[in-house]
């Protein structure tokens, strides 16, 4: 894993559920991102931390799509930004293609960013309104020395537009002249312009209309095949993530609670939170809606600046037990449940007992969550593009 892979390994479609330790493009180990909460008039005193990401291990293989789901405030966006080193991690390491990104500085880091690009949620907010599409697309290419030959650069622009399904006439237009879906296409073209290996897409379709979402999802799938890309897709919409991803990690309060191949996660969700999340997603089919049994979680998401002890989900968990849950933090592990794939990992002490029906759900009384004044998720909005961050 530490050896540098020079050539791109061709992704093997189909059987890639089990983690085999090879072919890993991104290797995240024990990553933590803590934001200090500061108070004070003259001296900023740190009075606490927001534990946005608190110990996550994950591996993304060449050519796969890794989906990260969770509710707002669970740290999924921060994790995505930490992988790009846009948010310097407090602890842990991110190895990309054999190189530890956290150890890179200055020019080396800037060069490495050519390989990792990002697609943002709000295409209007992430495209400079005063730049034409041509200049938007060329900016990244120039920064990485890919636009030295203007004829070749022009040909490349045409190729990019064709790949994302926009006419060549779009080059001289400005972002406001496009619809939301088209703007997202420009955002994708910009990410593609520097030939990245990994694209981190943070809520790529949630700002779009329902009928347009499918266009962008299909486009993401098409360009992945065409350019052999690896994706990290971050979204709150479980149905979108399941559709697009090969493997899915479910996050709750800064940590992964379950990780599995997309089909396994849907067929046999093992963690109580995953079960509740699955049962809460409305399905556009009245027959299913009438029949289904919902696991309604009570109360709110606890504050990430004051996370519960032990298992972070124990305050809302219908399967909570008297012992271990509130004292011991569960590790992500392969559970001993018959019929479950070895690639499925769960962070719950009682997975086996819950799966066998030994432990049953019981009602939970809603807990009042005190809101602590601190930075909100929206306050972490960073630069609109990677080149802007430099």
């Amino acid at each position: 894993m530490t050896e540098t892979t020079t050539g791109r390994t061709q992704p093997t479609h189909g059987e890639r559920t089990a983690y085999d330790g090879e072919d890993v493009l991104v290797d995240v180990r024990g990553i933590k991102v803590h934001f200090p909460i500061k108070r004070g008039v003259i001296f900023d005193k740190t009075i606490g931390h927001v534990y946005a990401v608190d110990g996550v291990d994950l591996q993304i293989r060449h050519g796969e799509t890794y989906g990260l789901v969770g509710e707002s405030g669970c740290g999924k966006s921060t994790l995505g930004r930490a992988i790009l080193n846009l948010e310097p991690p407090t602890a842990g390491s991110v190895t990309f293609d054999g190189v530890d990104i956290a150890s890179l500085k200055g020019e080396d880091l800037r060069r490495k960013r050519q390989d990792i690009q990002m697609v943002f949620q709000d295409p209007m907010g992430s495209l400079d309104p005063r730049q034409s599409v041509e200049s938007l697309l060329l900016e990244g290419m120039k920064a990485h020395g890919l636009a030295k030959d203007s004829a070749a650069a022009n040909a490349r622009l045409r190729e990019l537009l064709k790949a994302v399904g926009l006419p060549v006439t779009a080059l001289s237009k400005y972002p406001h002249e496009f619809s939301g879906g088209q703007r997202q296409r420009i955002g994708i073209a910009r990410a593609l312009s520097v030939n990245p290996k990994l694209i981190v897409a943070d809520e790529p379709v949630s700002a779009l209309d329902v009928s347009v979402q499918a266009q962008v999802i299909n486009l993401l799938e098409d360009v992945q095949e065409e350019f052999g890309l690896t994706y990290l897709v971050i979204a709150h919409d479980l149905a979108v993530v399941r559709h697009i991803s090969d493997r899915i990690g479910v996050m709750y309060l800064g940590a992964l609670v379950e990780e599995a191949a997309a089909d396994d996660l849907y067929a046999t969700p093992l963690h109580p939170y995953t079960r509740a999340l699955m049962s809460a997603v409305p399905v556009p089919d009245p027959l299913i809606e009438d029949r289904r049994e919902q696991i309604l979680l009570t109360g709110d998401l606890p504050s990430p600046s004051n996370p519960p002890t032990g298992c972070r989900f124990h305050t809302r968990c219908p399967w909570r037990q008297e012992t271990r849950c509130d004292t011991e933090r569960p590790e992500l592990r392969v559970p001993d449940v018959p019929g479950v794939d070895a690639g499925q990992r769960v962070a719950c002490h009682w997975t086996e007992q819950i799966a066998s029906g030994e432990i049953t759900a019981h009602p939970v009384s809603g807990e009042v969550v005190e809101r602590v004044e601190g930075p909100d998720d929206t306050d972490f909005m960073g630069p609109a593009s990677i080149s802007e961050a430099l």
Binding site: V212, A214, P284, L297, T298, R371
Partner: protein, 343 residues
């Protein structure tokens, strides 16, 4: 929250969808006029009925006129810069002809509304308790002192834990889900017969959305309140509404009972929407079938079907004649070339 399920239903005899319509909207039109610009007709002749205890859904994408319809019904559109015509019949009174004072007496008492963003619909500098008692003082003539225990019970009813303490809290001290519950408590304070909910769960997380939808469903069943649910999410509609109206470009293009509509969508737009959404329960590996283009490709309804440029099966007449909304066996359809067969 556990106390809620134990509470007996107060109107067990109300049968959804029975009897005379409570609200009857006929040929509602809303035109926005801006200086130096062509007038824009956001709602172009929308008609539908809501019967006592019934849940009616208005579903469509942004810009289809669903929110403007609800604001026009409530008389909440600004007086200047727009023109509202048609009739909104609520128990024999045309709401559009009422004076501001008469409308204020109806709003919050007979008809209440819940909005998408609870933080901007609540007053940030007034405690939650006062905002609930305010409605009771205004419409039921209670004193602040008499209204406070009622407000406390209302907060308890919508599942806000520790209501005595929450009465003194300001909106920013509550989470998004709790704020939406508080807003529902305010809306239900005077036991309205009609509740209009405009995207009430769009700003919320999915587990919180499930809580709020369960709450709405239970309250509607227990109190016999009719509900108009406005949303873009077909999943929410599928689990909640008795009757569904699909809007496109300011007009209703299809209407039907929810089981029939979802099993056999006849308008290509409804059909296309259902085929384009990734479903949690669908087999993976299937490609989504998007609706091409975007709403900016729409044709004017006056001499064509607005959806024709994006339609999967347009015929010649679609770009020449506007299709009329035709009703048959409780279903309505506005299409020249409808989709045949089951989905």
């Amino acid at each position: 929250m556990t106390s809620m399920s134990a509470s007996p239903s107060t109107h067990p005899s109300v049968h959804p969808g029975a009897g005379e319509p409570l609200l009857s909207v006929r040929d509602l039109r809303v035109t926005f006029q801006r200086q130096g610009q062509e007038p824009f007709e956001a709602v172009q002749g929308v008609s539908f009925d809501v019967r006592p205890g019934q849940t009616v859904g208005l579903v469509g994408e942004s810009g289809c006129g669903k929110s403007v319809t609800s604001l026009a019904i409530m008389g909440l559109l600004p007086k200047h810069g727009n023109h509202v015509s048609g009739t909104v019949d609520y128990e024999g009174t045309n709401l559009l002809t009422l004076s501001d004072q008469e409308m204020r007496d109806k709003r919050g008492k007979d008809i209440a509304m819940v909005f998408q963003d609870p933080l901007s619909s609540l007053n940030p500098v007034v405690p939650i308790g006062i905002q609930v008692t305010e409605v009771l003082e205004r419409h039921r003539g209670l004193s602040r002192k008499a209204a406070t225990p009622v407000a406390r019970d209302l907060l308890d009813r919508v599942g806000i834990p520790d209501p005595d303490r929450r009465l003194k809290d300001y909106p920013h001290q509550l989470s998004g889900g709790m704020r939406q519950r508080a807003l529902i408590a305010i809306a239900l304070a005077c036991k309205p017969r009609l509740l209009i909910a405009d995207e009430p769960t769009t700003a919320l997380d999915v587990t919180i959305q499930a809580q709020i939808l369960a709450l709405l469903k239970e309250l509607v069943q227990d109190t016999g309140t009719a509900l108009v649910m406005i949303t873009h999410d077909l999943g929410v509609i599928a689990g909640l509404c008795d009757e569904v109206n699909v809007l496109y470009g300011g007009r209703i293009v299809e209407r039907g009972e929810r089981h029939e509509l979802f099993a056999q969508p006849r308008h290509p737009y409804t059909h296309g929407l259902l085929a384009s959404i990734p479903r949690l329960d669908a087999p993976r590996g299937q490609r989504l079938q998007p609706i091409p283009g975007s709403v900016s490709d729409n044709l004017p309804w006056t001499h064509a079907c607005a959806f024709a440029p994006r339609c999967s099966q347009p015929i010649e007449v679609c770009t020449q004649v506007m299709p009329e909304l035709e009703e048959q066996h409780g279903r309505a359809l506005r299409c020249h070339n409808p989709v045949e067969g089951h989905r």
